[in-house]
């Protein structure tokens, strides 16, 4: 077993979504917070893929942005290769650490500056981290990267809008790889793409992982994709981890009622005759999460304890689940 490259400890982040001061005073309301991420812990092993799944608003993007430092955590700590990232990095130390991780975004068009040529986009990390590199060397490296992701060096003169969605995501991947990082956070990299294009991108990402020994945090709402990519999986619900575990085990024996529900909701493409179970209810508003277990209004196993007490992650089998029923052995 390899040691973890990334360790996320009791990470929480809340957002202030209060109305403006004047409105608060007039309406006599207090501040309003969203707990987008609450007490999330997991670790990612070197060279593996850790996936986060969850529905819209479950806090996936927030965790991604916390990891790469685009957001500051409210509580908790992120440790990257033994170094805590939370102590506001400065100067050369920061640059050394920063070049080791990268991020790929959901909307490939929005993640590329529309006014920049592809060459300049991909070269940006090189300018930041390879200060000594001259223009020619940089352009050669860009050509190499474009070839690596399945585009041609001639594409470098074009602008992002001249490409299809899948090709744009390839450009974003080339940029992420430019400074030779070890660790890439991928926030729904294929959600905006067609299935056939998604297959290309997923295969590319796997090839690159094998070739360069990359470590991924892979975010998705699509269980089939996650099953395909991940060694380990964390299931998020309303900002909390419902279940974490090794991928195989989690798909074979889902413990948490929410994980089971998600698995049941996967459509039956192979037409085995399995019917999707109708799931009751919808995700409650994160502004007013229910007391106790966040899943209790939709959970068929909920009891009184679930409506009062927030369950913590407890190990069961090869994974860990945050559920009273699992802990009590009721399911």
């Amino acid at each position: 077993m390899s040691e973890p490259l990334l360790d996320v400890r009791h990470l929480s982040r809340r957002f202030d979504v209060s109305p403006p001061w004047l409105n608060r005073k007039l309406e006599r309301t207090g501040k309003v917070y969203v707990n987008a991420v609450k007490d999330v812990s997991f670790s990612v092993k070197r060279g593996e893929t850790f996936a986060l799944v969850g529905e819209s608003g479950s806090g996936k993007t927030t965790i991604a942005r916390l990891i790469v430092g685009l957001l500051e955590p409210t509580e908790g700590e992120i440790v990257f290769d033994g170094q805590s990232l939370s102590r506001g990095l400065q100067g050369r130390e920061a640059r050394r650490l920063r070049r080791r991780f990268q991020m790929i975004f959901q909307d490939p068009l929005a993640s590329l500056n529309p006014r920049w040529r592809v060459t300049d986009i991909i070269a940006e990390p090189l300018r930041a981290f390879e200060r000594g590199m001259n223009d020619r060397a940089r352009r050669l490296r860009v050509g190499e990267l474009l070839t690596l992701v399945g585009l041609s060096p001639e594409d470098g003169v074009k602008f992002p809008h001249q490409f299809s969605g899948g090709q744009r995501q390839r450009i974003a991947i080339a940029r992420a790889l430019a400074a030779k990082p070890e660790f890439i956070v991928c926030d729904e990299p294929t959600s905006a793409l067609d299935v056939s294009v998604q297959a290309q991108i997923l295969n590319l990402m796997k090839d690159l992982q094998d070739e360069f020994g990359l470590t991924y945090v892979f975010i998705s709402h699509n269980l089939q994709v996650v099953r395909h990519m991940a060694n380990e999986i964390g299931v998020l619900y309303l900002g909390r981890l419902a279940e974490v575990g090794e991928s195989e085990a989690l798909f074979e024996h889902p413990r948490h009622p929410y994980t089971r529900m998600l698995l049941d909701a996967v459509p039956d493409i192979d037409m085995t005759g399995r019917r999707r179970k109708k799931v009751e209810g919808e995700i409650p508003s994160p502004l007013r999460p229910p007391p106790g277990c966040p899943f209790n209004p939709r959970c068929p196993f909920a009891n009184d304890r679930c409506r009062i007490e927030v369950p913590g992650l407890t190990p069961v089998g090869l994974q860990a689940a945050a559920c009273h029923a699992v802990e009590e052995g009721r399911i």
């Binding site: 056939s196 297959a199 699509n222 909701a265 459509p267 039956d268 109708k278």
Partner: protein, 326 residues
């Protein structure tokens, strides 16, 4: 043999652009039987929405139907004047779009929008229309419908709004519902509910559905037949089980292989290299030929028409005997 409810014959939709004419939909023919669910899949830009828009007469200018005919039972509807078409929309053909917010007016109560639509198409009193509306909302699974009907759209969650849109599409009892990506904007756990509701209700009302989507899973579950579109053309059309289990057109074969399944893990997916051509630069011969693993000489020069390859199945590929030239 029953008569088809909708017949599309050699439909072509064109957009004049400054770089010449762009053919968004080219020579498409298919039928929808009463009560049938026809799925329509294909990559983004393949022309799925455009086909749907042509049927309901909502192609935005400068786009236009350049060739072909669309028949609703024995009435030709592709050349109707706008006012007549407006009567057909809603009364005979209902619509459900991806984003429920575009179909609901945020300024009006749900009740007003439903009652208004019912009364434009059916000769009923306000009270009766309201009763009908409450019943519909109840049917689409909105709890406490009689009270919530007076809410505004923003007071509903995304999934509930989509239910309201379904109710709106069905309120005048149409025979055909065109649903363009009805679940794409929704969460996985809610998607299943919406598909279920849509299918059950249409079956109850005897309405046929044309279900446009990216998601093969949704098609597998809901559709009776499926049409696969590529570069504005029909690559393949046939019963859903046959196409999924035993696709004939190399593009559909690639598409099916590209879908990650729950049963397998950490293996490579089948993928089709390259990308769909821009519609103003479709290669000569078979439009799929630059990407096709089974391409041979004829494919590069002759364009296959979507032709019957066995009873009930049509494909546009020279691999099958009986395929004619377009």
């Amino acid at each position: 043999m029953t008569e088809p409810l909708l017949s599309v014959r050699n439909l072509a939709v064109e957009f004049p652009t400054r770089h010449g004419i762009l053919t968004a939909v080219q020579d498409i023919s298919f039928d929808i039987m009463p009560g049938e669910v026809l799925g329509m899949v294909g990559e983004s830009g393949a022309g799925k929405s455009m086909t749907g828009a042509a049927i309901i007469g909502l192609i935005e200018p400068p786009g236009r139907i350049a060739r072909g005919e669309i028949w609703l039972r024995d009435q030709r509807i592709d050349n109707l004047p706008p006012e007549k078409m407006r009567k057909i929309r809603g009364r005979h053909i209902g619509m459900i779009f991806q984003d429920p917010l575009t179909s609901l007016n945020p300024l009006y109560r749900i009740s007003d929008q439903l009652i208004e639509t019912i009364r434009t198409h059916l000769p009923v009193s306000r009270d009766e229309a309201r009763k009908r509306a409450v019943k519909l909302l109840d049917d689409v699974g909105i709890p406490d419908a009689s009270r919530r009907i007076d809410d505004y759209p923003h007071q509903f969650s995304g999934g509930m709004r989509q239910r309201v849109v379904i109710a709106l599409a069905l309120c005048a009892g149409p025979e055909l519902v065109i649903a363009d990506e009805p679940t794409t904007a929704l969460d996985v756990s809610v998607q299943a509910q919406i598909i279920e509701v849509m299918k059950e209700l249409c079956a109850e009302h005897g309405a046929a559905i044309m279900l446009v989507t990216h998601d093969m899973g949704v098609i597998a579950e809901a559709a009776d037949r499926v049409a696969v579109m590529y570069a504005g053309r029909l690559a393949e059309i046939g019963p859903v089980r046959d196409v999924i289990k035993d696709a004939r057109h190399p593009y559909s074969q690639g598409l099916m292989g590209a879908i990650p399944r729950l049963g397998e893990s950490l293996e490579r997916l089948v993928h089709i290299p390259g990308s769909m051509p821009r519609l103003n630069a479709v290669p000569p011969g078979c439009p799929f030929n630059p990407r096709c693993p089974k391409v041979f000489d004829k494919c590069r020069t002759h364009r296959p028409a979507t032709s019957e390859i066995e009873p009930g199945r049509r494909a546009a590929c020279w691999l099958y005997p009986g395929v004619t030239e377009a």
